[in-house]
Symmetry: C2
Subunit: 196 residues, 2 copies
DNA sequence: TGCCGATGTTAACGCTCGTTAACAACTCTA
DNA sequence: TAGAGTTGTTAACGAGCGTTAACATCGGCA
């Protein structure tokens, strides 16, 4: 048999796959999923287009695996941080986590935010469930911090907060990482505390 | 001669053009510029694809005119509102304006935020200049409100604030317009005031 | 040593894209 | 009423897309 480009079934961590996923993240973030061709993707890692099919079953499989991986990483660590019994500390821990992720992986955050609709249907549902679960971790922490806050209003506030935090890739101003992270933390915390 | 699908040269306000621009905004926002074909665009207004060339010189001209129009509207009213001698009132007026625009035109805000790179070069510069000028209106108001705030930090804060406000189309939760507008205003104002 | 799986290549496929050409219908107006 | 301009249609173009097929190379191992 040739290769088996199935899902991420935890074989030995194939470096070529990782390389392709990294390059694809940059390209998808910059030009959008439909603005990137298989040829572009191959060229970005020094290959021709069709070589990609040795590692993935198709273009949409690259996107699907990328989004699935992001969603799982965000949620897993989010659950861990939200578990702090002190809701104020839990919120700060969530903020630190999300900000660090966004600053370290601006392309991934952008793709995660924009391209879910281009994932084929079996996996799109799974990714959406993970994304929603991540949001609910934040919602739960906020409502522990501020009981009586309606769920709908809290969810809207969390989405707005993500909009603020995920703006990093678009601004990326002259500020260094530490200054930018501190600014985002300060603003997001203040924004969420203002919700009553 | 046939028609002259040049830029927006202020003839009588052609309703077909406006109809196409409106449909294009929805489609570009939902699927991205490259995810929408000329055929899709025509079909959305009850025409065939090639009919579009009676009104625009090409697909990119639709996007360019759309972004130019948004940028001009945002800036014109932004300048007006930022002129309030009281910087606190000016900031509230800017917030009201941007929030109202985002709530009333979620598709436009999304396209404005994402698709500038797909505008061909003569007009991209103009749009970018307008966008920057709009940001600078906000920056100036914030620095009147808080003298001594470094320009770079202020600009980053404004971009983060836009990320918060422009999240509306993505969340669009069960909240009604008034509740959503109030929430965004509260959060954005608190986020900006926290910047020191 | 000879084979086999893994990982590349080039060539070719069917399809869709943006765009243009050629033509038809309708509305004004001279 | 003839003619011109406007706005639509269908047909056709060349290019590029995602994908598959056929073949080459190379390393590890019976």
């Amino acid at each position: 048999m040739t290769s088996q480009p199935a899902a991420a079934l935890e074989g030995p961590p194939n470096p070529r796959r990782a390389e392709i996923l990294g390059a694809a993240a940059e390209l998808f973030a910059r030009r959008g999923y439909h603005g990137v061709s298989i040829g572009d993707l191959g060229r970005a890692v020094g290959l021709t287009g069709p070589a990609l099919y040795r590692h993935f079953s198709g273009k949409d499989a690259v996107l699907a695996e990328m989004l699935l991986d992001i969603s799982e990483r965000l949620l897993a660590e989010g659950v861990r941080r939200a578990a702090d019994p002190d809701p104020g500390r839990a919120l700060d821990a969530l903020l630190h986590w999300h900000i660090a992720f966004a600053l370290d992986n601006p392309a991934l955050i952008t793709v995660h935010e924009r391209e879910l609709d281009n994932v084929p249907e079996p996996q799109r549902h799974r990714i959406r469930r993970l994304q929603r679960a991540y949001v609910e971790e934040w919602v739960a922490v906020l409502r522990r911090l501020n009981p009586g806050l309606p769920a709908g209003r809290t969810r809207a506030a969390v989405h707005a907060c993500f909009g603020l935090l995920n703006s990093t890739p678009r601004s990326a101003a002259g500020l260094d990482r530490e200054a930018m992270g501190g600014l985002l933390h300060t603003m997001a915390r203040a924004a969420l505390e203002a919700v009553r």
